[in-house]
Symmetry: D4
Subunit: 228 residues, 8 copies
C-alpha cells in the first residue's frame, strides 16, 4: 500500500475561496510537502471554482508526476518552480514594481516574485546581477528604480544591496533575502538579519527565498495606492 493509495480523503481541505474578495489575494498552493494525490485533489476542487490558480515551490519532478491533463494545463516555469493554471490578466500600464537581484544565483527566487505579479496582471521591471561589489551597476539604474512604486531586492550572503537601494529610492523597498551562499550565510539568515537592521530607513523584509511573499506584499502596497 503506497502513500497516495492510502492518502487522506477529501476532508483534509478547507478552501478559503472568498480570500480574494476579502484581501485582494487569492489562495495559492504551496506545493512543497504535499503528495501528488493531495495536489491533484486541490487542482480538481479549485479548477471549477476559481478562474486561475498559482502553484509555488512546485519541483519539476512533482510537476511531471501529476496526471497528464494537469501537466498539459499548467504553465510551468522551472527557474521559479511556479505553475499557473488558467489565464492571467494582461498587464495594464507600465511596471510599477521593480525586481532587482544581487547575483545570478538569486534569479529563481526573483522570478517567483515576477511570476506572482504576472498572475495578478502586474508587469515587473527586472534588473539583474547588480551586487555592490561593482557599485556602478546599481548606480546606473538609480533613476529607473526611482520611478517605481515598489522595489523588491533579492540578495543573499551579506544582503548589502538592500541598504544601498534603500538609500537611493523613495518608494517602498522590500528585501527578499535568499539562501545564496554558504557557511556564515546560514541559509539566508545573514541576509535576512542584515535587511532587518538596514541602515537605510524604512526597509521591509519577507522570509528567506519567499518571492511569492515579496510579490503579494507589493500587491498590497499597490492596493494601498488606490483612491479611498
Amino acid at each position: 500500500m503506497t502513500a497516495d493509495d492510502a492518502g487522506p480523503d477529501a476532508g483534509d481541505l478547507t478552501f478559503d475561496f472568498e480570500r480574494r474578495q476579502r484581501i485582494g489575494l487569492a489562495e495559492t498552493v504551496l506545493c512543497a510537502g504535499k503528495s501528488t494525490g493531495q495536489l491533484e485533489r486541490i487542482l480538481a476542487e479549485t479548477s471549477t471554482r476559481l478562474p486561475n490558480l498559482l502553484l509555488t515551490r512546485l519541483a519539476e519532478a512533482s510537476y511531471l508526476a501529476l496526471a497528464t491533463k494537469w501537466v498539459e494545463a499548467i504553465d510551468y516555469d522551472a527557474t521559479s518552480r511556479t505553475g499557473i493554471l488558467g489565464a492571467c490578466p494582461a498587464a495594464a500600464g507600465p511596471a510599477r514594481v521593480a525586481v532587482v537581484t544581487a547575483g545570478s544565483s538569486d534569479l529563481g527566487v526573483a522570478r517567483e516574485a515576477v511570476r506572482t505579479l504576472a498572475f495578478y496582471g502586474e508587469a515587473a521591471t527586472e534588473v539583474h546581477d547588480v551586487g555592490v561589489a561593482g557599485l556602478w551597476r546599481i548606480l546606473e539604474r538609480q533613476e529607473t528604480l526611482q520611478r517605481h512604486a515598489v522595489v523588491i531586492v533579492a540578495a543573499g550572503m551579506d544582503g548589502a544591496l538592500v541598504s544601498v537601494v534603500g538609500g537611493l529610492v523613495p518608494g517602498a523597498v522590500i528585501a527578499l533575502p535568499t539562501s545564496t551562499g554558504y557557511g556564515a550565510a546560514r541559509g539566508g539568515e545573514t541576509a535576512l538579519s542584515a535587511a532587518l537592521t538596514s541602515c537605510a530607513p524604512g526597509v521591509l523584509a519577507v522570509n528567506i527565498d519567499n518571492g511569492y511573499g515579496a510579490a503579494t506584499a507589493a500587491l498590497r502596497i499597490l492596493h494601498a495606492s488606490r483612491p479611498r
Copy 2:
C-alpha cells in the same frame, strides 16, 4: 579626564542633509550608544540646517542630561522615548495608517511609530490591546482597519495578531515585533520569526522594537501611492 571632556572632535559626524530630497525621509538620530557630548554636537550642527529633527531611543535620563536649552527646545515623550526638535507639519486629511497593539506592554514601541508619522505630518489611528486571546477585540475593528492604506501591528510573544490582521485587510500589513515576553519569546525573535512565516500572504516585517522603521516604511508606501 572624563569621557565627554575627552570626546571626539566634530570630525566624527558626516550629515546626509540631502536625504529627504533623495528618498523623502530625513536623517534621524538614534540616541542609544551616543554620549551627551555627541548628542549636543549633533543638535548644534543640525538645528541651523534642518527645519526639524527626530530623536529616537532617547532615554529619559539622557534627555534630562542635555544642556537646558535643548531640554527646553525638545518635545519629549517618555512612553516612546522620542524627542522632536522644531515643529511638525499639521496632519492633512484622515489617517491613512493604523497602529495596532496586541497588549499594553507593546505601547511604547507603537507610540514610536505614531510619533514618527506625526513628525512627517501623518495622522495615525491607534487600536490598542486587541490580542487574539480575545478575538472579538480585533474582529470589532475589522472594518476600521480595512479603510487604512497601511496597518502596523505591534505584537510580541507569539505575534499571532499579525497573521490574523493579515487575513482580514487588503492593505499593506507591517509586522512590528516587540520584545514583550520572556523565555522562548527570546527578546522578540519569536514574534519576528512568526511574522516572517505568517500564513497570511504578503505580510512585511521590520526589526524588533523598531517603531521608527515601521513608520518610515509606511511613509515610503504612502510615497508609492502618489500619482506618477
Copy 3:
C-alpha cells in the same frame, strides 16, 4: 559483511513490558534510526508478550523491507508513517479529543496523533486546513471544539492557530508544532516557540512533528478525568 549480518545480538534490547500497567501507556517503537534487523528482533520479541504494538516514524521503504510476515501482519498508514501490529480496541463513546490542522501539509503529523489515539481505543474529531488567514474556518468550528476535553492543534510556520484556539475553548489545548515551512520557520522551531509564548493562557506544547507525543499527552489527560 553488511550491517544487518553484523548486527548486535538480542542483548541490545531491554523491554519495559510493565509500562502500560504503571502509567497507562505501552512501550512504542520509534523506528527512525533502527535497522531492519533491529526492527525484526523487536517485533519477534514483543509479539508474543504484548497484545498489540504501535510503530512510529516507520518510513514506507523501511516497512516494505521487513520480512513478508511482518509486512502482512502490520496495518501500515503511509500518510502518518505508522504501523500497528495486532488489533486496536474499538472506540467507546463520542470523541473526547479533536485534532485540528492549520494547513493540509500538517496532515501527516496530525494523523500520527489520530492513529495513536485509535491504538488506545479513542476516537478523534478531525478538523483540517483551518489556518487563521481565513479566520471564518476556525470560527465556524468553535462550538464543535468547545465540546471536546482536549484539542490538539497541528500548525507549522507562525503557529498562530494555536493561540486563536486557545482563546476560544475551555478544554486542554495541546500545540503540536510542525516542520511545515521554510526559512525563518526553521524546521518548526518558530511554531514551537510561538506555542510556548502563546498569548492565550494555559496552552501546552509537545516537540515538533510529535503527533505521537500529543496523543499520549491527551491520553494522560483523559486518565486524569477518571474518578479518583
Copy 4:
C-alpha cells in the same frame, strides 16, 4: 516631564472581561514591562468589574511603588512575585494538582503556579528539592504523585526530573522548565528542550519560568475532567 506624567490615556487598554465565561480563565496582568501608571489604571478599571484579579511578575519594587491603597489591598507574595486583589475561593476537596521542584532555586517559579491555582480555588500538593541526583527523594513520593490528576514538574539545568516523573505516574505531566543554572543551561532553554524530547511518553511543556502557564494549563485539564 516624566514617563508616568506623559503616560498614555486610558485608550491603551481593551479588557477581555468575558474571557472567564468563554474559557474558564480570567484575564491576568503580566506586570513586567508595565509602568506604575499603567498598572494603576488597570487596577482601577478592573476592580469595579471583576471579583478578583491576579498579577504576575510583579517585582517587589513595582508593588511598593503603587499607591498606598493598592499596596494595602493586594495580597503580595515576594517569592512568587504574585499579587492578588480581592478574595480567592476556598479550595474544595483534596489537591488534584501536585507541584514538584528539582531544587530549592526553582521555588519561586513553582510558587507562581501554586498561587495561580489558589486564585481559582484549587489546592496543590507541594513536593520540593527532589532532583534526580538523589533518586530516592522522588521514588519516596511516587505513590503520592500517582494519586494526582496533574503533576507540574519545575526543573532547570538538565531538567531530568521531568522524564523520571513521566515514567512513574499515569496522570498529566506538565514540565515547567526554569532558568536555574548557568552556561549551557542557557537561561532554561536546555531544560525546556529536554522536556520536549523526554523519553517518557506524553509529557507536556510550558514556557521557561512560566508558573502561571503551568497552572492555567492544569486548570484546563481539570475542566476537561468535568462530565460532558
Copy 5:
C-alpha cells in the same frame, strides 16, 4: 579526470607516529570526508610503521570501495562504522569500563566506544536500552555499574539517563550524547547541554556521537590509575 586521479600527492599527510609513546593513544583515522585515494595512501603508509590502526566513521560503502587487499585485511563492524587493521591485544582482567545506552538507537555510537576500547585491550560491560522512562531498568544494574571505574552513558533526546547514573555511581561518568531524536533534540545538542548541566556532580561530556572520544577519555582515566 576524476577526484582520485587528480588527488593530492603523498605530501598531504604528516603522521604523528610517536603519539602513543607520548600520550598513550595512537593516531586514528577519521574516515568521514576523506576520499578513497586518501584512505588507501594512509593505510599504505601506516601499515608498515604501526602494529595496528583504528578507522572510525568508515561508512560501509567507503569500506567496500577500498582495494580488495584492504577490504580483506580490515576487521569491519557496520553497526559502529569502525574498522581495525591488524590485531588487538587480548583483554586482561575484568572490564573496568561500562558502556550504557538509553535506547537501542544509541547502539552504534556505543559500539564505537566498545570497539575503541577493544583496540587497546580493554573489555567493556555493555548495558543496553535502560532509559529512565522505565526506571527499574537502570536501578537493577546499579550495583554492577558501581563496580566499574568508568561508566560511559550513551543517550540522545533528553539525556536524562546521564544524571540518574551520575547520582548512583562513585566512578567517573562520561556522557556520550547521541543524535537520536528529532525536532528539539537538535541533532544531539539537547542531550549534550543536559549532560553539561547535569544536577549530578562531576559528570563529564564528550562531543555528540563521539564514541571514540568517550573511549579514549576512559583510557586516559585508566592511565591515571596506574601507580605513580
Copy 6:
C-alpha cells in the same frame, strides 16, 4: 512585606545527606539564585548533620548579608566566590591534579576547582597564564603536567590551550571552558565547543565556568584509581 519575611517554610528543602556515602561527593550549595533566608535555613539544617559544607557561587555581597555567626564561621574566598563551613581534611601526599589557566582572567573559575579539591583533601598544582599565544609557557611545564593523573585546563575565548595540553599529557584532561572574552566568545560557548571538538583524543568537558564540576569530576577519576 519583603521577600525574606514572606519566604517559604522549611518544607522547600530535601537534603540528600547520604550522597557522600553513595557516590563519594557530598551535597554542595549552589548559592546563586537563593535568598539570604534560604541560605541561612540550609546552613542551620546541615551544620548539625554534616562535618563540613561547601558553598559555591556565593557573591561577596550575599556572603556579607548572612547573619554574623555565619559570616564568622565561613572561610570565604572572594576570588573563587566559595565558602567553606567547617574544617577540610589535610591533603595527603603530592598533588594528583593540576589546574592550568590560559590567562589571568580565568583565575576565579580555576580557584573554584582548587578550593573544591581542598574541601576533599586533595592538593592541586596551579599553573597560570600559559595561553598558546606564547607557546613556550606551556611547553616549559610539560613534564610537570605529565606527572599528574588529571589536568584541568581553564580557558576562555578560543580554548586552544585545551587541545595543546591534550596532545602533551597521557592523563585525564578536563576542559573547563570559561566565559572570558566577548563577541564571538559568546560567554564561553566557543571555548566549550572547541573543547568538545578538540583534535586531541579523549579530552573531556564540563559546563562553562564550572570549576566545581571540573574538580568533582577529577575526584571521581581519583576514586576510579582506587584498588578494586
Copy 7:
C-alpha cells in the same frame, strides 16, 4: 519543459569586467546554485572579454555536464572543485604565501586557496596535516612559516592551530575555518568562532570553507606591500 530550456535569457547577467582594474581581483564564478545553462552562458560571454576565468565550487558532476568544448577547455581540479579557463601567469619569485592545514580532511579547501593564488601567478608553500595534537609538526615548520608574508591556516573542529600559528609568526595570519568535524563542530562555526576569539593578537578570518576568500585576501595584502 525542463529547467534549462525554460532558463532565463541573457539579461540575468551584468558582468563587472573592470573589477580587476579597480581592485586587482577579477570577477570569479561561484558555480554552486547555478544551472548548466547559466554556466555556459557565463563562459560564452566572458571567454571573449577576459584573458582567463576562475570557477569555484564547481562540482565534478556539474563540470562534466558542461558542453564538451568547455570540459576540454577548462583545467579542472576535483580536490578543490575549481576550474580555470585560459592560462595563468607563471609564478614570479619565491612563495610569499604559505597554506597550512590541520588535517588531511582540510585539503580540498586549502587547495581552493592554492589554485586561486596560482590563477594570479602567486606560488604557495603547502604545509599539511600539522594539527596541534602533535605539536612538533608545526614547531618544525616555524622558521619556514616566519619567512612568508601571509600564512593561511585551514582548520576545522577546534581550530586551535590558528592561535598556535598566530603566536609563532610575525606576518599576516588568515584563519580559514573548515567544516571538518561533526556535532559541536557545527559545520565549521566552532572553528570560525575560535579564530575570531584567538588569544593570538591580530588574527584575521574568512568564511567557513572559503579558500577563495582567503587567497584573495592574501592577494590584497600583497597589493598592500607594493611601493606607494
Copy 8:
C-alpha cells in the same frame, strides 16, 4: 575580607615578554574581568621590563580606581577605553592605514584601533559616519581610501559599508563589526556574518568590537610589506 585583600599572589601571571621580538606585537592587557589588584600587579611587573604598555577595555571607573601613581602615569582615553603607560613612538611618514566608521556610534571601537596603531607609531586616516544610506559619503572618499595599504571598516547593524568599500579599493580590507544596533543586530553578530559573507572578494574579519584586533592585524600586514 574583600576580593582584593584575598586576591591571588603574584603566581597567577606568566608574562610573554619576548612576544614583540617573536611576532612584532607586544603583550597587551585586556582589562575587562580583572580586579584592581590584578591590574596593579601587572602594571608593577611590566613597567620595569617593557618600555610601554597598552591597556584595552579599561572602563573609566576601573581606571580611576587604580592607585594615584598609575592614574597619573597612564594616558587614558575614555572614548576608546584605552590606556597607554609610557611613551609611543612618533608616527613616521603618511598614514598607511585608514579607519572608517559607518555611524558615529561606532566611534569608540574605531578609536581603539587608532590608539593601538599609535602605540606602535602608525598614523591612521580617520573617515567617520559614512554609512551606505547616504552613498555619496563613501564615494567622495574613494580615492583617499585607495591610497592606503589597509582599510579598517567599523560598522554595526547590517555592516553593508564593508562590502561597498571592498568593491572600491585594492588594498587589504578588515571588517571590524560593532555591536551597534538592537534586535536582529544581535550584538554585532549580523554585521560579523555579513562581513564573512561579503560579496566583495577578499574581505577579512575580526571579532565584534575588537578594535585592538583590527589594528594588530593591520600591523601584521604592514610587517608583511617589509622587504624580505
